[in-house]
Subunit: 488 residues, 2 copies
């Protein structure tokens, strides 16, 4: 069932698994990987007339006078393979959702709808599926909301299978982007003893079964209270003291009570930190390149899957994506943003006074104002930003070198800043916040060979929403966790 | 500071950041990435005589009659760049560990120790480092145990910087292996409501600040008790019902109280699941190829970093690694393993009767018995394995289609099995264990289009220990979490 790019050229392959090493018995490690034919391989071949064997799930069954027509999908591509069989190969188990194993010859299809079709010589039903009990129905297009109720089965729908292929390819594109640009990947920890970054409500972690007596003597497994990480930034800053550039890509957590279509309790963040960086532009350049390079990769490598979203989920969204890719992102300062909001005729719910945080309604207005091109908003009021943001020392408008990237539909996609690398300025701010004990280690990063550095985080699910046009964040993650819901 | 393979050929570059898009003002997204010169770039260039600017940390300072010699490292490679400066560029801040910014011309080095050296025209100390307070000392080789006390600074040592480059490259090699072989990457969840997989002590998760009153009405944030995942397997099995092959690579958790050199509370697992797989050999083939392909990639792409470990941390270990790569892994059944142990003259602490689990002492003996070549042990007693392992139905020796991969030094590196895909057999085992309510969803995977499938998990830290010869698991992870310790 595994396919290999290396071996794609040697097709047609045998219909059995090829175990080049274990089965050939060679004493020397054999470089040839295993190989099994996927439906994606079969659809793209030109080796007509060859005998092949494929396995997958039935997507449709059509009985005509002469033949039985099946569409079989194995998740290797959106397109199914058409199987043509004589009626004597029919079986009551050949229903929508059942798993089958088919051998036959691959032939040119007389229809214009597909290039090839499989003329079955043998069909075996390996796993039945009772259509009356299966929650998805043949030829019905179920809503994203409906399939969300079945987290263990929704990957069997075309739309969620496409989403998962896009998510996998986007992950890979992001990792390639960083690797090609010399970033070291760091696995920042999920469990942390940092509790005062102020990025929202925390989850606490303790063993499920703690001995009550032990609890009094020794209340915490780790000796200190521990939490699920809200960001890998501080740990990446450790690494920015030893590498030119680092990144992390993993789960982060917020215990917020909102049930909005924009929030999850567990979501993925891409975070990067760049050493020897003296300007916010350096950070913005990486953000813009990351967005554009990853998106172009996904559009190229998952064209059919992306098209499904742009056709059925968010009609017309492709134009929006192309627009974002073709234009240089806008840059405005927070102060300019406030001016734009105050000059607008729109009435906002939240205040637009200098010093107030930008709300979703403001972010949406600003993106629209910029012609639906993503916009960087820079240099926020110092007091709005966390203790690590670098002081611009620009009295009386006292700002920090921080930046948010706002995108159409989603609002804030990325947030970044230069980090305060000057020991004395950082120390006084940490003392002011009463955090000097907890952050002694963080101050030491500046005490020993400090370098100017900066970085950002990008919400990966919001990124997928932005490029696919998916409205609800729960529909772009394999298993959604949010207040009152942790299925499976 | 970022480098790009694409642009390595156009060196020499300007000494400043090149912002191809934002700075060129082009309305069309410009494909050229940003570029800054790393020390790795400088060391590998042949463009002698060019003016460059590099930044990094001072690794050594040597004052000779005519000149000052500095070794500067920026984490892009193990090798430092030698900087030669006249004494008038000397500065009291030029100490071990300080961060500097140097401009000058890159010249051929007269010494045989390096190809090129930088003749400094300007040196600026950007971050001082007081050598009396810095915990690492110039020219001293600190033990892994010593540097472990400074999790925020140990990445500044050669050995841990090398470890992190190897870890990053190994991560990338594993991801490429799966991608090239058609596996879809799935982000399996960290927070889960599954609590009975029996893989060890669980961590429980709740918001840090829960309102007491709320607690009575609604005791759990997710409405049910939730835990940190011990394995992504069950979630991957969901996906094995829709894709040919899937994998996950992320953190997993155990709240065990051991403080051994083999255990962490948070560690990384690579897990794969393959659909339409009817034999344990299919799973073993993927394990063996994964191990060999990733290791060969790391040995090739991180040669200097790996050599540091094989020279100073585990002298002679390279021979062991080459031996593992050159030989086909052994395969013995659990029953054969028990026979081997019983025939041995060694006295074991734990029993070696058929039906008993293999302990570390047994695993070590078996690997030695197999000439220090990794060995697959297959077909364990049915009662030793979790409910999902496939029943071999081979009475009276009742076994399951499960396999462990044992490797020298580490013992168990991977564990895998075929999964029970037959609805009725699985249902009766789940009912027997009293888990039918919790696993209704898991049974449904078999009710609707079930396919034979199997998979495995590999401990990523143990993998790194195995190829580098590192004795303590705490020394192969960026931030170690274990009983009574969660620094940072």
């Amino acid at each position: 069932m595994l396919s290999s790019n290396l071996l794609r050229s040697v097709f047609p392959v045998s219909s059995e698994w090829v175990f080049s090493c274990i089965k050939c018995g060679s004493r020397r490690y054999c470089q040839k990987p295993f190989k099994k034919l996927t439906i994606s391989d079969a659809l793209s071949t030109k080796a007509l007339g060859s005998n092949i064997r494929i396995q997958g799930w039935v997507r449709s069954v059509r009985s005509q006078k002469e033949h039985l027509f099946l569409h079989v999908n194995d998740g290797s591509s959106l397109q199914p393979l058409q199987v043509v069989a004589s009626h004597d190969l029919n079986d009551r188990g050949l229903t929508f959702g059942s798993a089958i194993d088919v051998s036959g010859s691959l032939e040119k299809s007389p229809s214009g709808k597909q290039n090839v079709e499989l003329h079955a010589k043998q069909i075996q039903v390996t796993g039945k599926c009772d259509p009356t009990e299966f929650p998805f129905k043949i030829k019905e297009r179920h809503s994203l909301e409906y399939i969300r109720q079945f987290p263990h089965l929704r990957c069997r729908t075309n739309v969620f299978s496409a989403l998962l292929r896009v998510r996998s390819e986007a992950t890979s594109a992001i990792q390639s982007f960083f690797k090609d640009n010399g970033f070291i990947q760091i696995h920042t920890p999920v469990i942390t003893s940092n509790d005062c970054e102020g990025a929202g409500e925390l989850f606490q972690v303790e063993p499920a079964s703690r001995d009550k007596q032990q609890d009094e003597r020794d209340p915490h497994y780790f000796s200190v209270p521990t939490y699920l990480t809200v960001s890998g930034q501080l740990h990446l800053e450790v690494m920015a003291g030893a590498f030119p550039a680092v990144y992390t890509f993993g789960p982060t957590f917020r215990a917020e009570n909102s049930q909005s279509r924009r929030h999850l309790a567990e979501f993925y963040m891409v975070e990067a930190e760049i050493s020897f960086t003296e300007s916010l532009e350096d950070v913005m350049t990486v953000m813009e390149h990351l967005f554009k390079a990853s998106t172009e990769h996904v559009l190229t490598h998952c064209a059919e899957d992306v098209e499904l979203f742009h056709k059925f989920v968010a009609p017309g969204h492709r134009g929006q994506v192309d627009l974002m890719l073709s234009r240089k992102f806008n840059v405005i300062s927070y102060t300019e943003a406030i001016d734009i909001l105050n000059r607008s005729s729109q009435i906002f719910t939240f205040p637009t006074k200098w010093g107030c945080d930008l709300q979703t309604e403001h972010e949406k207005y600003l993106v629209k104002h910029c012609g639906n091109i993503p916009v960087f908003v820079t240099d926020y009021p110092y007091d709005l930003k966390p203790f690590y943001a670098r002081d611009n020392q620009d009295h009386p408008r006292h700002t920090a070198a921080a930046v948010d990237l706002l995108v159409p539909g989603v609002g804030e996609l990325c947030g970044g800043s230069l980090r305060e690398e000057r020991l004395e300025i950082l120390r006084s701010r940490i003392i002011q916040a009463g955090m000097e004990d907890a952050y002694e280690w963080y101050l030491q990063l500046r005490q020993f060979g400090s370098v100017p550095h900066g970085g950002f985080g990008m919400g990966f699910e919001r990124y997928l929403q932005c490029i696919l046009g998916v409205d609800n964040i729960k529909d772009v993650i394999p298993f959604a966790r949010f207040s009152h819901s942790c299925l499976l």
